[in-house]
């Protein structure tokens, strides 16, 4: 009976029930429900449940196998850790939206058909947007709207792709897509929408734009679910799509380069989500059993260490109210536990031996080296050096050590520290006992992470990165700047469009209105007076109708151009970026 009970249902119904409780009851419930979800996931076995026929389409709401279970486990753990971290907040809205967001993420990973996936996908976008709006500051609200705009566009692409795919193949069952089979347009549309959610450049800017603006606790949830569900669906639908190897490698490097330039602590971490998801996207592109194992285990490890890093940076923001590295420093004196726990996450993401990243990331690199090209493996190793440089050295140095900012904040609330502690235990536990994670993976694991060559090579890369960091420290100082990413197209580019709408188009429209009101109407009147003699009733009424319609539509146009057109502008620019993405796909296929 229990395997009928969908974790998504538990989270979503739980989330809707939460507002009925107040204070300590609500807080307790926000921890009990995720614990029940963990229990529920532990009871799940492979199989198909909850399928029924809806208007002639077979819907499979709940399909479980080893791959979806890996994600199910880590989503459940993160649901608990994230809620523990946000236990102190009083904003019920944030708690509810986090529950809906996680619930719909469960909906995606256990979806057996495209429609269930689409509906869950859309709920995720809207529920997560609230976590950005909830910080209530003007930049956050703006970033939240941009976030929604981008994700709604992605949702439309996905919807279009699904409909085309369904019409061409006659099946809505969720599964691998092949180029040419079921239409190349459907293949491309779905791929672009998945790549958008995975933050693959040039479709990455929504992430680094919006996540740093979210609430301290909201960003922890955001860092875990959206990009990783995208990795999951890519694993399901596009394993072995070679183009993803190169997109993934480019992503890993792209995030590292932008992280050098970044001054905002959580935006820097956001660029490292892009970089780390790059490893996973590359692994999907390689598509061998070892690569798929690598991607699944890296996603599992990533959710926990990235959550820990966001919790650490969030704790600093919570206690100091500051997020710019140029305004922080010297906090190690009063926040040693935060420093230590953050560093566990940093060593895990950097793949130090005996930390989680070491046993997961190396599987992807080994898969790349074994199956694919040396170039991909080498470039991923460059990105590894960059990962340690930024999250392990630059960020903690300027946030916790470095010049003394004079700030003496205390440690964050206990619940935040405990949540970080649990995540840290996972980071070390997986690193020391990789078998626990490997047993969950979809394919049998033959990979051995702890060989002398691997340990020495990794330590060599990491510790000499440290040497270079110390020697070139003064060149790395953060600067009071922001970096232009592809969001430029809908932030500045949109203004060009609006200028075009306001100036030349509005002038032309004014001219047409004057023409309509003046000579145009006079002609109409004369004509109607003459025709009055022919047929007073019919013609007169019709002509008045035409004149009124002309005037009304003129007014409608004027209204469009003063306010709402900016939204249309944004939508068009975002669409344009999507088209560029499609073009790039086809371009590189042809090459």
């Amino acid at each position: 009976m229990i395997e009928w009970f969908h974790p998504a249902l538990l989270m979503i119904v739980g989330g809707l029930v939460l507002p009925l409780f107040k204070g300590v009851w609500q807080k307790s419930l926000s921890l009990i429900i995720p614990l029940l979800v963990i229990l529920e996931v532990s009871q799940l076995t492979a199989g198909v449940n909850g399928n029924f026929n809806f208007a002639g389409i077979e819907l499979v709401l709940f399909k479980v196998d080893k791959l979806s279970l890996v994600f199910g486990w880590v989503f459940a753990f993160m649901a608990f850790i994230g809620n523990l971290y946000s236990l102190h907040i009083t904003d019920t809205g944030q708690r509810v939206s986090a529950f809906l967001y996680i619930g719909s993420a469960f909906g995606v990973i256990f979806a057996g058909d495209w429609f269930t996936l689409l509906v869950s996908w859309e709920i995720m976008a809207f529920a997560s947007a609230y976590l950005i709006f909830a910080s209530k500051k003007q930049p956050a609200i703006r970033a939240g709207f941009r976030y929604l705009m981008v994700h709604v566009t992605g949702g439309v692409l996905l919807f279009g792709g699904i409909v085309l795919h369904g019409i061409q193949t006659g099946s809505f069952l969720f599964g691998p897509l092949e180029y040419g089979q079921g239409g190349s347009l459907a293949y491309t549309l779905i791929l672009v929408s998945f790549m958008l959610n995975a933050a693959v450049p040039p479709l990455n800017a929504w992430l680094t734009d919006a996540y740093p603006e979210a609430t301290v606790t909201g960003a922890v949830f955001l860092s875990a679910f959206t990009t990783k569900t995208a990795v999951y669906v890519l694993l399901r639908t596009y394993p072995g799509a070679e183009i993803l190897v190169w997109f993934g490698v480019a992503m890993a490097i792209y995030g590292v380069v932008f992280a050098v330039l970044e001054n905002d602590s959580r935006r820097l971490l956001g660029y490292h989500i892009v970089s780390q998801v790059g490893y996973m996207v590359a692994g999907v592109g390689i598509g061998t059993e070892m690569a798929i194992n690598g991607v699944a285990s890296h996603a599992f490890a990533h959710i926990l260490y990235k959550g820990l890093l966001f919790m650490g940076a969030g704790a600093v923001i919570h206690m100091t109210g500051r997020r710019k590295l140029t305004e922080l420093g010297g906090l190690y004196r009063t926040m040693p536990w935060t420093v230590a726990l953050y560093m566990v996450g940093a060593l895990a993401i950097s793949a130090f031996p005996f930390f989680s990243g070491f046993v997961s990331k190396s599987m992807i690199i080994a898969a790349a080296a074994g199956d694919h090209s040396a170039t991909a493996a080498l470039l991923l190793m460059v990105a590894s050096s960059g990962t340690f440089l930024h999250t392990g050295l630059k960020l903690p140095y300027y946030m916790f050590f470095g010049k003394d900012s004079g700030l003496r904040p205390t440690e964050p609330p206990k619940n935040m520290l405990y949540a970080m502690g649990i995540a840290a235990i996972f980071c070390v536990g997986i690193g020391v006992f990789p078998g626990l994670l490997y047993d969950l993976l979809p394919y049998p694991v033959e990979f051995k992470p702890y060989t002398a060559t691997h340990i020495i090579e990794s330590l060599g890369i990491l510790m000499f990165t440290l040497l270079a960091f110390v020697l070139f420290l003064k060149y790395l100082d953060p600067e009071n700047t922001i970096s232009v990413d592809t969001d430029w197209f809908y932030r500045r580019g949109a203004r060009l469009f609006i200028w075009f709408a306001n100036k030349p188009v509005l002038h032309w429209e004014q001219f047409l209105i004057t023409l309509g009101d003046g000579p145009g109407l006079r002609t109409l009147h004369r004509w109607s007076e003459r025709s009055l003699q022919l047929d007073t009733k019919i013609i007169d009424a019709a002509v008045n109708g035409v004149a009124n319609t002309a005037r009304r539509s003129g007014e409608t146009f004027r209204r469009l151009q003063t306010g709402i057109v900016s939204h249309y502008g944004l939508a068009m620019i975002v669409g344009l970026i999507a088209v560029v993405g499609i073009f790039m796909l086809f371009g590189s296929r042809g090459a």
Binding site: F258, A377, S385, G386, I461, F464, L467, E479, I482
Partner: protein, 84 residues
């Protein structure tokens, strides 16, 4: 204990000890790289002792300087009020 450990990495009075410790660790890593047995080598770099060390150092330096060059000369870095 945690506070002491964190303090060791932050307090300026330990700078010399930190440097010494780092140099010892670096030397040990390179030394170990010459001593370990290599059972199978998949790529040329697996057979080169000290490869990881050199690769890490060069990668890190390249990331710092190339990124800052792109940021400054490529027009990526803008004033904070750029979008306002």
């Amino acid at each position: 204990m945690i506070a002491k450990l964190v303090n060791f990495f932050g307090d300026a009075k330990y700078t010399r000890i930190r440097w010494r410790l780092l140099l010892i660790v670096l030397a040990l890593i390179v030394l170990a790289d010459f001593l370990i047995e290599r059972h199978h080598t998949e790529h040329f770099w697996d057979a080169v002792p000290g490869w990881g060390a050199a690769f890490g150092f060069v990668s890190c330096a390249a990331i710092i300087f190339v990124s800052k060059f792109i940021g400054h000369k490529g027009g990526i870095m803008k004033d904070e009020d750029y979008y306002d």
